[in-house]
Each structure stands twice: as structure tokens, then as C-alpha cells.
């Protein structure tokens, strides 16, 4: 077929026999579609422009570009002064596919849906929909195609934007032809996201669950190739395997999720094309390191309504600055040399496409890169660069005819040709109507003269001596003018209201309609009395083209790139320094105990020396006189710095990993540095018996997700028992097993029995064993390579888990919360577990009605390794005080009390060789306090991580003015942008996401939101 068409193209004049299966109702009307557009400036591709050139097309394809012969049967169109470009490509469109309504809200209190609701031999999980082919769903839709054509698009990649694995997308043109002809590639790409979309199946409830689900599906699909009899037919996995050879496109919503997606790809040898979220410029170095091509949105945030300070107060700098910097995002990609395509997807109004593209150009994107991102790059990403994306013989005749440089403000797209068919976009409208016209209205023999001042195609004023209220519009060649003879002082403009006239002007309106013949228009109408009139308007003075108004008001962004993207971020990461802290009271947590008037030298991230009268050339000296130096606080139980915390859909979710969804932008990292915290164990929540894998981090504020991780530490996992696990607080009823502590015990038995059988099967050399991420983690526990932190409260459940552990031959590493630990402390000690508890919490639910603040002291007296943890983003800032409560309740010594938030958690986490005490060779994670750190009056003055100062109280308060000024600058800029006519949306308070165990209410500010994002 291709050859045939080519042949036809080469032999103009032959009769094309266009055979189709579709019968014709009437007489056949075959056409050759032969056109020659002459004398044009043709931009063949972003790097080739030909002047005075001719474009010849036939049968919907390009025959020649440049100086080719004009075929005798061609319709010749003189394009003198016009430009021709390849029409644009959008590879993230939803054109032609009915998109499902998406229910994002997941209600934690509602009973769960455990299985897929999709009928048929498909996947267990409803959000994995590889079997969906957009080609089966696609239908052309001229009403939707038109606005896209008007923007200049000719080709789109469409898919059903629903689910985590979304099946395939197709490439179609925006032609009005039947689907059969509009589709140019049926299976063009495969799509993925982290969003469940319309699936109401509970799993996954979390970001990390979505990651785990994808990873498991890669493994399952591989395994399915062996046709495992127990699986039967799985059309989803079959489809999954079949589409792996296509370009793989992953939709993400922000810079971090792009990196996260790329990580999954790396694991399974897939390089995704990533649809970005628009804030990639904030981490462009990391984005470039993915080597992924990106699809970059032109959806920039609108200015918010910030006149009212009560509204402006609640918008964080990160949102204000993102408003200013988002238009620099495409330029950031260009500068970082990351291949990228631009998309109009996400635009609420397609009309914003060109203004936003120009905004991106103002903000540094080159026109050439813009054109590339809309033509060549998307075409080559989809392997259709032999059909579209540039103007070459044999390619589809998809091109634009414009009045000039495509990117110039005053340029209009006149025609958009798609598959050789012409769609007039702006042919008549593009005629510059601006200017002075003489308007003569004739009634019978009476001629009345007016002046008509045309400002644009929608705005004009009829004048006598005074300006008259006028409504004016030009639609193609049709002109409509109505005006009132009664003058008004009102501002004239069509505005949003349908009428510009006031009531009192009724009875004074003259209405005219006519046709635009270029410099003279004429038509008929009715005067104020309703009498018929005829009229003529003749151009007297053409108006000079005024400059783009947005260009005039463009102010270069001033917001500095800081890491992380927070008003508390810094331009560069804190650097390791040689620091000598002199003359402090040093809490060593070592044999020497608390040492008065002692010096500590920090070098290259480590503690170099501890002693008296130290000196070091070139060291920054911090006077510690009267102050206390301690190891950094280690929070054994934290939920900060992540995007999700609970994968609550199943009772066993050991496959999910907190480390998959760290959020380095969480302000609580910085806030906790201000409270002397340097290391935190980020735990899965307590929504299920076997939760997810933990992530130990150091509070390196400004680092990326990988940079936060505490490298080389033993892996941990979170378990939970009791009320949360059996969902006691579920208001609408629990249907997830278990509902009792008896059931919890069996969930544990079952999990480890399954793990044991799995391991046995694997060891036997059985190659058909499906690799199961959930069981892999449990096997690691059995092998004592992964360690359990178990949320637990009452004595029965504590003994229960110890029994299971002893039965299966592993040890529970840490019981956390453990508020009834004091009742069975001897048994815990016998088992050999660590304990990590709250200082004084109780009575927040039934299972803590026997919690006592003497718990830590009593367990300490029995010789357990006791930690005090936070589980609370606020309290973590005061863990030193929480430790001090063990003095108040139970008389623990000061040094032992402070160890409960430093050395003891280091031991429990197996990192006491690195942190937890002050000793030469250990990591320089240090805090200098204004006072005894166990005193309520103590404040952290400096917090060091790896020998770099991450918190400096004096600097922090010194920056207060700068922070206020920077906020004010952006608010002022937003106000003036709004005044300049930029679209404005109501103020949107910035939500603070604070995650916790689902365990208690915490004081976290009025804007806190739970982040159960699925």
C-alpha cells in the first residue's frame, strides 16, 4: 500500500483508484488532492528553512518541498509572505477517548474492596489494565479536534488516562476523516501512572503501594511467560508482555514522582518517557540524570487573589515562587539538554496554549527548541518521525500556513492542513482590521457619516463627536456592528457580559451586519427606529500594530533556586567544615560520661578528636562555654518526609517500601533539625499487621531522596498489632481480616508459614516459583537479614508476637510504643528485643488505658535497651524534653535519660558504630544546646549532620526579615500581574501534609491534611 501511494505520488496525472470497503451512497467523487503552495517560506524542520519555496502535496502526502515541479493538475495557492511549518504534535492528548470520571477520594473508614471489579480473565488488580487498547475506544470528534487544530496541532497520541498500567495509546491525526484513516499508528506507546484512577479496589492505598504493584507486575509478567498452570489465562499479563516493545510513557505529577518512576524503569530495564508535573526545574540536575525524555506541560499556575492578607497569609512561598518560576520549566529542560516534548495537556483552557508557550519563550526557551519539542522530538519518541514532525516527501501532508514566524505574538495561523486536507483556522480573522474607517449609513436618501475606530476583531467604537457604546465582532468574513446613539461614560468593551448596552440606551440602538471585502465593508441593517439601512465602511487610516502587552509587563523571575524548594531552602547544600567546639559540657554517652569544659574537633564529616585544649589550624571555632554538646537525637519512630505512610489495603504488605516515596521537601525535616534531631527511622504506619519496609534517613535538608538515606544501615520493617490493625476506629465497619487479636496472631503465623514454604520451594531449585516481593521481605526476616519494629501496646499481643517469632526462629528487634511493656518487661528481655516508647501518652484509645509514664523507667530498671520516640512531627522537635520526663517519672539518671534519644535508638537500629555517642571516628552528628539538654529551657543552637551545619539558630532568626521580604515581593508581583490582566484564581491555601500512624490527633496547625492520596 505504501509503495502504491509512493508510485502515485511520483506519477502525477495517473488516475488514483481509491478503493475502500465503504460503499458510497451516490456517485463516486475521487480526487487527487493535488496542491502546490508556492512562494512560501518553508520551515521544513527546526533547523531547515527554505525561502521562496513550493510545497507540493497529493493524496494526503507531501510530494516535494523546495523547488519541485508544479504538477499540471495541482491547485496552486500563492503563499507569498506566508510561512509553512509542520503541524504540531501533542503526545499527551486525550482527544477522541471518553475519559472516565476519576474518584480520587479513598475513605479510610469505609469497608474495603479486595478484588478487581473488572469482569473477565484479567489481572487481580483493577488498576493494572494493560489489556486496554486506545484503538478500541477511539472515535474522531470534530468539535474537539477543532480547537486543537486552531492551536496548530495536527497529530496526537491518545490513550485512556485511567489506572496504574493503562494499556496502549494510538497516534491519530486531527483530520475529520473516519477513524480508519485518522489513525496512523494503532499501538504507538504504553502508558503508566501512580494513580489508581477509576479503580475502587482498595489496593494500593498509597504511593509506595503503587510502586510495589508495578514492580510485582513486571515480575509476574515475566513469570507468566512460562504459562504457569495455576495462573490460567491472564489476558492482562499477556497484554503487558505484548506491549513492552513499545515506547513506555509514565505520567507523573511532580519532580519526585518522575525520579521514582525512572527508578522502577531502571530496575526492569525500561527507559520511560516521563510526563512531568511542571516543577522539574526545581531539581533539574536529578531529572537530567534519569536520562529520560520528558513530556513537559505548558500548564502554568495562575496568579492567585492575594489582595486580602488573610488569604495571602496561607499561601506558602513554595507556591508563590512556583507561580513565578513555572514558566521557566521548559527552558530548564532545554538548558539541561534533556530531550523533551511539549504538551497542551493539563491546560484548563486550550486557548492558553499559545500565550503560555510565549511565556515559556520569554522565560528562556528558544523558539527552535519549542518547535522541536512540538514536532521532531515527539515524532521520534513515538517512532513516527518518518511520517510526521517535519516536511519531507512521502510524509503526511500535515502543515501550517501562517502569517509569519510561528512564535511571534502577531502571527496568525491561517490554515492547518491535515492529511492533505485544508482546515481554515484564521484565514479571514487574521486580516488586520485595526484602523480608522469611515462609516456611511444610508436610509432612503439620507446618508449619515460616522467614524469607526477598530481596535481588534472584537473591539471597536463608533464615534460622532463622542464615542458611542459599540458592540463589534468579526467572524470570518462576517461583520456585525451595533451601537447606541445615546452616549455613555461607561467603559466600552464587550467584556464577559453578552450586552454592552445599558437599559436607558434601549430605543437608541443601530444594528448593522455585513461582509468584509478587505479594506471596505458593506452590508445592511436597521436604524434606531427599525428602518432598513445600508452601509459602507472604508478604511481611512491603518493602525500601527501595537506590541504584545504581556511582553511589556514581563518581569524576569527573581526567585532564587534553593534546595529544597522552600523558603527555608539554601542555594547550595551545607558543606562539611572543620569545626572546633570549645569548652562545652560534652555528653559523650561513652565510658567517660559527661565531660565538663571539653573540646570536640570535627573534620571531614567525622568526629576527629575529643579532649581538652584542642586546637586545629583553619578550623571554625564555636565557643561552647556554658553550653552543652550532645550527639544528634535519633528518632526511632517517625513519619516525616514521605508522600505516603500506610498501605492499608491488605493485612500483609511487606512488599511496600517507605524508601520509594521519600519527600525531601517536607519542612518538618528542617523543623526537627531545630530540635536537634539528626537521624530518623521513617516507619510504615500501623494500618495492618505486616506493614512496609522502613527507611532510615539523616536529616540532610536539601538533599534529594537518595541523599537523605542513611546508607549502609541494616534494613528494617514495620509490624503492628492491636486496635489499628483490627481497625477498631473504622467508623463504617471493618471487613478486612483480622478483626480480633486472635486473628492478628493467625495473620502472623500464616505469613511466616507462607514465607517458609516459598523459601523451601526456591531452595529446591524449582524455576517456576514466582518471585514474590511480599514473601521476599518475610524470608529476609527469617534469615535474620531484615529486622522488625513492631507497633504494640498490650501485654497479650506482645507475648503473641514473641511466640510467633520464637516458633519461626527469628527475633523481634524492637517493640515500639509498647505502652504495656512494663507488664511483660522480663519476657521482652528474655526474648532480647529493644523497646521504644512514648514518655507520657495514654488514654487516647482503649488499648492504652493502662499506659503509664513510668513505663520507660521501669523497663530501664529491668535492663532493657529503652528508647523514647516521637511518632509525631511536632514532638520530635522536643525529644530531649520527652527523655527528661523519665527523670520526672521514675528517677532515671540524666545521662541514662538522654541516651534514650541518642545511643539507645542507635543500638536498636544497629547504627551505634556510626552515631549515638561522641567519640573520635564517629559521624559528626552533633547538637550544641544553650542549656542542659534535658531542661525545658534548652534550645538547639547548632545542629550538625556529617560535620555540616544544617541548623544555625542565629542564622535562622537572622533570615526572618529576608523571608518576609521575599514573600512580600512575590505577593506584590502577583498583585501587579493581576492588575495587568493576567487570569486570577481564588487564593488557595498551601496544605501541609502531616502523616502519622493513624494513632492519635496531633497539634499540627490548621492546614494539616492527611495524605491518603488514593
Amino acid at each position: 500500500m505504501k509503495k502504491l501511494l509512493l508510485l502515485l505520488g511520483l506519477l502525477p496525472g495517473l488516475i488514483a483508484v481509491a478503493q475502500t470497503t465503504f460503499p458510497v451512497n451516490g456517485v463516486a467523487d475521487p480526487r487527487s488532492g493535488s496542491f502546490a503552495l508556492t512562494n512560501a517560506t518553508i520551515v521544513k524542520d527546526p533547523s531547515t528553512t527554505i525561502q521562496n519555496a513550493t510545497l507540493v502535496i497529493r493524496e494526503g502526502k507531501i510530494v516535494s518541498v523546495g523547488s519541485g515541479n508544479i504538477p499540471p493538475d495541482a491547485v496552486v495557492i500563492d503563499c507569498k509572505g506566508k510561512y509553512i511549518y509542520p503541524s504540531l504534535i501533542d503526545i499527551y492528548s486525550d482527544y477522541g477517548i471518553a475519559q472516565r470520571t476519576v474518584d480520587l477520594a479513598f475513605d479510610y473508614g469505609r469497608p474495603q474492596q479486595f478484588n478487581s471489579a473488572t469482569k473477565g480473565a484479567y489481572n487481580w488488580n483493577q488498576a493494572i489494565k494493560s489489556e486496554v487498547n486506545a484503538a478500541d475506544l477511539f472515535s474522531t470528534d470534530d468539535a474537539k479536534a477543532q480547537p486543537l487544530r486552531e492551536m496548530g496541532f495536527g497529530t496526537v497520541l491518545v490513550h485512556e488516562k485511567d489506572g496504574i498500567a493503562r494499556g496502549t495509546g494510538l497516534v491519530a491525526t486531527l483530520s475529520a476523516k473516519k477513524e480508519n484513516l485518522a489513525i496512523i499508528k494503532e499501538r504507538a506507546a504504553a502508558f503508566y501512572s501512580f494513580k489508581k484512577g477509576s479503580s475502587k479496589q482498595s489496593y494500593p492505598t498509597s504511593m509506595m503501594g503503587a510502586v510495589a504493584l508495578l514492580r510485582q507486575n513486571y515480575l509476574d509478567a515475566q513469570w507468566y511467560k512460562t504459562r504457569p498452570p495455576k495462573e490460567g489465562v491472564n489476558k492482562t499479563l499477556e497484554a503487558w508482555n505484548a506491549l513492552q516493545s513499545l515506547p513506555q510513557i509514565f505520567e507523573t505529577t511532580d519532580k519526585w514522582s518522575g525520579l521514582r518512576a525512572d527508578g522502577i524503569g531502571d530496575e526492569f530495564g525500561v527507559q520511560y518517557i516521563i510526563k512531568g508535573g511542571g516543577d522539574e526545574y526545581q531539581r533539574i540536575r536529578e531529572v537530567a540524570a534519569t536520562k529520560a525524555p520528558y513530556i513537559v506541560s505548558l500548564n502554568f499556575p495562575d496568579a492567585q487573589k492575594v489582595e486580602d492578607p488573610a488569604d495571602a497569609r496561607f499561601i506558602a512561598w513554595s507556591d508563590l515562587a512556583h507561580w513565578e518560576l513555572a514558566p521557566t520549566n521548559p527552558a530548564a529542560f532545554e538548558k539541561a539538554k534533556i530531550p523533551f516534548a511539549l504538551t497542551a495537556a493539563d491546560l484548563k483552557d486550550t486557548k492558553a496554549f499559545w500565550p503560555n508557550l510565549r511565556k515559556a519563550i520569554q522565560n528562556g526557551l528558544s523558539e527552535r527548541a519549542a518547535l522541536e519539542a512540538l514536532t521532531k522530538t515527539p515524532a521520534s519518541l513515538l517512532n513516527i518521525a518518518d511520517k510526521v514532525g517535519s516536511l519531507e516527501p512521502g510524509y503526511l501532508a500535515n502543515f501550517l500556513v501562517t502569517t509569519g514566524n510561528l512564535f511571534a505574538e502577531k502571527t496568525s495561523i491561517l490554515e492547518n492542513w491535515i492529511q492533505g486536507e485544508r482546515y481554515d483556522i484564521n484565514a479571514k480573522n487574521s486580516t488586520e482590521l485595526k484602523g480608522q474607517y469611515a462609516l456611511a449609513i444610508t436610509e432612503g436618501n439620507t446618508v449619515t457619516q460616522y467614524q469607526l475606530e477598530v481596535k481588534s476583531n472584537t473591539l471597536a467604537t463608533v464615534k460622532t463627536k463622542e464615542a458611542l457604546t459599540t458592540k463589534f465582532s468579526v467572524d470570518g468574513s462576517l461583520v456585525s456592528i451595533s451601537f447606541s446613539l445615546k452616549p455613555t461614560t461607561k467603559v466600552i468593551g464587550t467584556g464577559q457580559k453578552d450586552s454592552v448596552f445599558e437599559n436607558r440606551q434601549a430605543g437608541e440602538l443601530v444594528r448593522l451586519s455585513g461582509v468584509n471585502y478587505g479594506s471596505s465593508w458593506q452590508g445592511v441593517g436597521a436604524n434606531e427606529r427599525g428602518a432598513p439601512v445600508s452601509w459602507v465602511a472604508t478604511l481611512t487610516t491603518a493602525a500601527a500594530v501595537t506590541k504584545d502587552s504581556s511582553r511589556q509587563t514581563f518581569v524576569k523571575p527573581e526567585a532564587q533556586m534553593v534546595y529544597p524548594f522552600s523558603i527555608y531552602g539554601t542555594a547550595g547544600l551545607p558543606q562539611q567544615e572543620t569545626i572546633l567546639i570549645k569548652n562545652a559540657t560534652v555528653w559523650t554517652n561513652e565510658a567517660g560520661g559527661r565531660q565538663e569544659q571539653t573540646d570536640v574537633l570535627v573534620k571531614a564529616g567525622k568526629i576527629a578528636q575529643v579532649g581538652k585544649s584542642l586546637s586545629a589550624a583553619g578550623a571554625r571555632v564555636i565557643d561552647g562555654t556554658g553550653k552543652h554538646l550532645t550527639p544528634g537525637i535519633i528518632d526511632e519512630h517517625s513519619h516525616i518526609a514521605t508522600f505516603s505512610i500506610n498501605e492499608g489495603a491488605q493485612s500483609v504488605t511487606s512488599e511496600v517500601r517507605i524508601g520509594d516515596n521519600l519527600n525531601p521537601d517536607d519542612i518538618n525535616i528542617y523543623r526537627q533539625l531545630s530540635g536537634g534531631v539528626t537521624t530518623s527511622q521513617i516507619l510504615h504506619g500501623s494500618a495492618n499487621t505486616i506493614g512496609g519496609q522502613s527507611q532510615l534517613i539523616k536529616l540532610r535538608w536539601g538533599a534529594d531522596a537518595e541523599g537523605l538515606k542513611f546508607k549502609g544501615a541494616d534494613p528494617f520493617i514495620k509490624f503492628a498489632l492491636g486496635e489499628n490493625v483490627k481497625r477498631t476506629a473504622s467508623t463504617l465497619g471493618n471487613n478486612r481480616y483480622p478483626d480480633t487479636r486472635m486473628g492478628v496472631y493467625e495473620v502472623l503465623n500464616d505469613a511466616f508459614q507462607r514465607a517458609r514454604e516459598y523459601e523451601k520451594a526456591k531452595r529446591s531449585g524449582d524455576k517456576t516459583v514466582r518471585r514474590d516481593l511480599e514473601l521476599d521481605a518475610l524470608v529476609e526476616i527469617l534469615d535474620r537479614k531484615r529486622f522488625i519494629t513492631c507497633h504494640s501496646y498490650v501485654q497479650s499481643e506482645i507475648l503473641g508476637l514473641i511466640n510467633v517469632a520464637e516458633k519461626y526462629g527469628f527475633k523481634v528487634n524492637t517493640f515500639t510504643h509498647i505502652l504495656e511493656g512494663y507488664k511483660v518487661a522480663d519476657r521482652i528481655k528474655q526474648h532480647g528485643a529493644n523497646v521504644s516508647t512514648f514518655s507520657d501518652w495514654w488514654a487516647y484509645k482503649n488499648e492504652v488505658k493502662d499506659a503509664i509514664p513510668y513505663n520507660a523507667a521501669l523497663m530501664h530498671q529491668l535492663g532493657l535497651n529503652v528508647c523514647i520516640n516521637s511518632d509525631d512531627a511536632e514532638m520530635a522537635r522536643r525529644l530531649n524534653q520527652e527523655a527528661a520526663k523519665t527523670i520526672r517519672y521514675g528517677g532515671v539518671s540524666e545521662e541514662d535519660a538522654f541516651k534514650m534519644v541518642t545511643l539507645n535508638p542507635a543500638k536498636a537500629l544497629h547504627i551505634d558504630n556510626r552515631v549515638g555517642s561522641i567519640k573520635a571516628g564517629k559521624d559528626a552528628d552533633l547538637v550544641l544546646w544553650s542549656d542542659n539538654p534535658l531542661s525545658i529551657y534548652a534550645r538547639a543552637l547548632y545542629t550538625l549532620v556529617d560535620g555540616a551545619v544544617y541548623f544555625d539558630r542565629q542564622k535562622d532568626s537572622g533570615n526572618q526579615e529576608h523571608r518576609a521580604a521575599e514573600r512580600n515581593r512575590l505577593i506584590q508581583k502577583m498583585l501587579s500581574a493581576a492588575k495587568g490582566g493576567a487570569p486570577v484564581v481564588p487564593a488557595k491555601p498551601t496544605a501541609q501534609v502531616v502523616l502519622h500512624c493513624e494513632d492519635h490527633e496531633q497539634a499540627d496547625g490548621v492546614l494539616a491534611a492527611d495524605a491518603f492520596e488514593f
Binding site: 509514664p853 530498671q861 529551657y937 496547625g1005 492546614l1007
Partner: protein, 425 residues
């Protein structure tokens, strides 16, 4: 440290007992003298080695050492710190035993928007296990507040050593409580506009109050309206309107209500009150600051904002009290909130005043308590060290109306029980 050991020994010597054996103390009669302690009067004054003389439950004198009084019971508080009894200014103590998952233990939240007639005191449970854990941290009085959706009813102040709520009652119906809707779009509000909806509800509330005020202005009612009757004291300025409000718009609304109805208003919550401090002072509106151990409201706010809000209010001359509504530790950390406020700009005595005399003023009980001054009830706490600092704050004795109260509680008893199990005693 010595005194701490003393505390431990003191209760180790007691036989194991359940809370049911912690009896409210008998009425104090005769003269009680507390000598040698460091007296923090609650009015900003510190007397390094003072004497407090108590007679029949009232403080007779506070001051320098005086001649011994024959027949008096003498308590030697050498080296110890003496404070007015702490006051929990707004709490659901005694109304809500277990915070979640046990509906039957809840009596704090009534249905309906307009419940001015609802009275917290009638549901106050003097046998709540939480009460005794507060006493041993120096909290001797509490303002019991009904929750709900809008106008939630009247609070009453109780003293924390009583057999029944009638015994406990310290001041009845001192406050009327109002929750203002959150006048801010939240990530959860979606398409709805909470500001508009909130203003609408507030307008409806004002209409209700207008009718109530008209009703209160006359006695010739055709039919008794219990809701309106309950609001008479408010319009007669015998009661204050306590408005739960945190952000500027809410606080401005509260000020507007105060002016419109010529009533006395107190802000409760007040996380953003520091932004309107001058306005609050000009309008004479006090603030009860809830949990200052809170995260800043906005990520851009100063990291230590809630800690230093008290100092900003103090500087602006706003009358304020600190309150502990932290539900996980159940209200016992009140003195430590004051300690934090002192670490971030208040003087220690100002911080103390914020949990004693200021609270008493706001609750309308400063004629009887809140400070160690002659004529007031002998509500007194004695601590081994600085009460505001957890590392030395152990309370050794406490007196309510001169009665020496039992400082034992469920927690100490369970501690004791398991030390027994492990033969640690």
C-alpha cells in the same frame, strides 16, 4: 534529687491500692503554716524564703517569716518551690475518658447548632482516672467545656478533689462556648467555599443572638425559651463568650460579635492571635492559647512560632492563659507549656502567671484563686524544683482549699504493682 528520692520512698511505703482508695480530703480546719519554701505568688513576685498561713481553707498571709502560731500545723518546705494551683482553662476532662474507639466513654459533644442551655457540669465525672494524674502535676482546677458544632453550651470551673460534681463545682456556668467555622479553603473543601458558607452560618448565629438579646431585655415572655434563658447571663455580662478561633478571619469575627452584642469575649485556640495582638489589646479581648507545643501553621512561619507566641502577646499587653488540650498525653503537661514559653521569651514568673492568675482572671475566678494572696482559697502546689521544667518538677504536696490532697494516681499505682512483680521494692 534528694527530694525526688523522697517522693519515691513516700509512695513505695503505701500499700498497693486502686484509685478507688484515693479519697477526697476533708475540709481544712484550723491553721496551716507552710514555711521556708520559695514562694512564686503568681503575681510575678518571688519570695525566697516565705511563709504562707492558711486558715479554714483560705490564705491568711503570704510573706516573710513570722512568729510561730501556736496550734498550727506546720509544713517545712525548705528548698522547695511553692506555686498557686495550676488551672486548666478549657478542657473536656471528666467528659471524655478514652479519646477514640470507645463511644460509651464520651459525654463531650452534643448534637445541634444552638445548645446554649447545655451545661458541662452535669456530666462531669469526678471518678475519671485522668483527674488524679493532673493533680500530681500541679493542676488543681479545670474549666470543663462542652464541645459541639456552633454554640455548644456553658462551661463550669471545678476543683479536682471531689466526690460528686456538686462537690467539685467551683464556679458554675462561667462561660458560654462558641465554635467559629473555619473561614479558610482547605485542601479537602473541593468546590465548596468554606469562607462563604462559614460567614452564612455566622450570620445565622448573629440573628439567633439578636433574638436572644431581645428576649433577655424583657421578662414578659409569653413562653419560656430555655435556650434564650441560658443566654441571659451573657448579655448581663455575668458570663463571657469563649470563642474557639485560630485564624485572623475567625478572630475578627469574634471581635465583631463582642462589639455587636456588647458582650465580653475570650478567644480560645488563638494560634494566629499574635498577628492581631494590638487589636486584641485595644478591644480588651483575652486569649486562651491551646497547646503551644504545636507545629507552626504554615511552612513559611518561623519554626518556633507557637513557642514564642506567648511572649508576643505579653509584649503587646494582651491578657492570655496557656492551656493544654493535647489529647495523647491528656492535659498533664500544662506546666511544661509554660516552661517552653519561658524558654522563648517570657520570664518564668510571667509564664507561671499564664497558667495561674491569668487563667483565673479569664475564667472569672481571680477573686478566689490564681495567686498566693491573702483572702484567696489555699490552692497550693509544692514541688521539689522548678515546676516548669520536667527534669525537676516533681510535685510533693498539693492543697485545694487548704485540704491536703492525695497525690496518688492510677499510674503510680500500676508502677508500684509492677515493681512488686519484679521485686524491685
Amino acid at each position: 534529687m534528694k527530694s525526688l528520692a523522697y517522693v519515691i520512698l513516700w509512695f513505695l511505703a503505701l500499700p498497693a491500692m486502686a484509685q478507688d482508695d484515693v479519697y477526697p480530703a476533708k475540709k481544712q480546719e484550723g491553721v496551716l503554716v507552710i514555711r521556708n519554701g520559695i514562694i512564686h505568688t503568681g503575681t510575678g513576685q518571688v519570695i525566697p524564703q516565705g511563709v504562707i498561713v492558711i486558715k479554714d481553707g483560705k490564705i491568711q498571709s503570704v510573706g516573710a517569716p513570722a512568729a510561730t502560731i501556736p496550734g498550727a500545723t506546720v509544713v517545712d518546705a525548705a528548698g522547695k518551690h511553692i506555686y498557686p494551683g495550676l488551672i486548666l482553662a478549657s478542657t473536656d476532662l471528666g467528659l471524655r475518658e478514652i479519646m477514640s474507639g470507645v463511644r460509651g466513654s464520651n459525654d463531650f459533644y452534643e448534637l445541634g447548632d444552638y445548645n446554649p442551655d447545655v451545661r458541662s457540669i452535669v456530666a462531669y465525672n469526678t471518678d475519671s482516672r485522668i483527674i488524679n494524674t493532673l493533680r500530681s502535676n500541679g493542676i488543681l482546677l479545670a474549666n470543663i467545656v462542652p464541645s459541639g458544632s456552633l454554640l455548644t453550651g456553658s462551661s463550669s470551673v471545678v476543683q479536682l478533689d471531689a466526690w460528686t460534681w456538686e462537690d467539685a463545682l467551683y464556679k458554675a456556668d462561667n462561660g458560654m462556648f462558641l465554635n467559629l467555622p473555619m473561614l479558610l479553603k482547605s485542601p479537602r473543601s473541593g468546590a465548596s467555599d468554606p469562607v462563604k458558607e462559614g460567614i452564612k452560618r455566622i450570620e445565622a448565629l448573629k440573628a439567633f443572638l439578636q433574638e436572644a438579646k431581645a428576649y433577655a431585655g424583657s421578662t414578659a415572655q409569653k413562653e419560656v425559651n430555655l435556650k434564650f434563658e441560658a443566654l441571659r447571663p451573657l448579655f448581663a455580662k455575668k458570663q463571657k463568650l469563649f470563642v474557639n478561633a485560630n485564624i485572623s478571619r475567625q478572630i475578627l469575627m469574634a471581635i465583631d460579635i463582642a462589639k455587636t452584642f456588647d458582650i465580653r469575649v475570650v478567644i480560645v485556640g488563638g494560634s494566629d492571635s499574635y498577628l492581631l495582638a494590638n487589636l486584641l489589646r485595644q478591644n480588651n479581648i483575652p486569649v486562651i492559647l491551646n497547646a503551644i507545643h504545636a507545629l507552626p501553621t504554615l511552612e513559611d512561619d518561623d519554626v518556633d512560632q507557637p513557642f514564642k507566641t506567648p511572649a508576643l502577646l505579653q509584649k503587646a499587653g494582651v491578657l492570655f492563659a496557656l492551656n493544654d488540650d493535647e489529647s495523647s498525653s491528656r492535659y498533664r503537661n500544662l506546666s511544661f507549656f509554660a516552661g517552653t514559653a519561658a524558654a522563648y521569651g517570657l520570664s518564668k514568673e510571667e509564664a507561671l502567671q499564664a497558667i495561674t492568675l491569668n487563667a483565673a482572671r479569664i475564667l472569672g475566678i481571680d477573686d478566689r484563686t490564681g495567686s498566693l494572696e491573702a483572702g484567696k482559697d489555699a490552692n497550693i502546689v509544692i514541688a521539689a524544683g522548678d515546676l516548669l521544667d520536667m527534669k525537676e518538677s516533681a510535685v510533693t504536696e498539693a492543697y485545694i482549699q487548704g485540704r491536703k490532697i492525695d497525690l496518688n494516681n492510677k499510674h503510680k499505682q500500676l508502677y508500684d504493682r509492677y515493681r512488686h512483680r519484679y521485686q524491685l521494692q
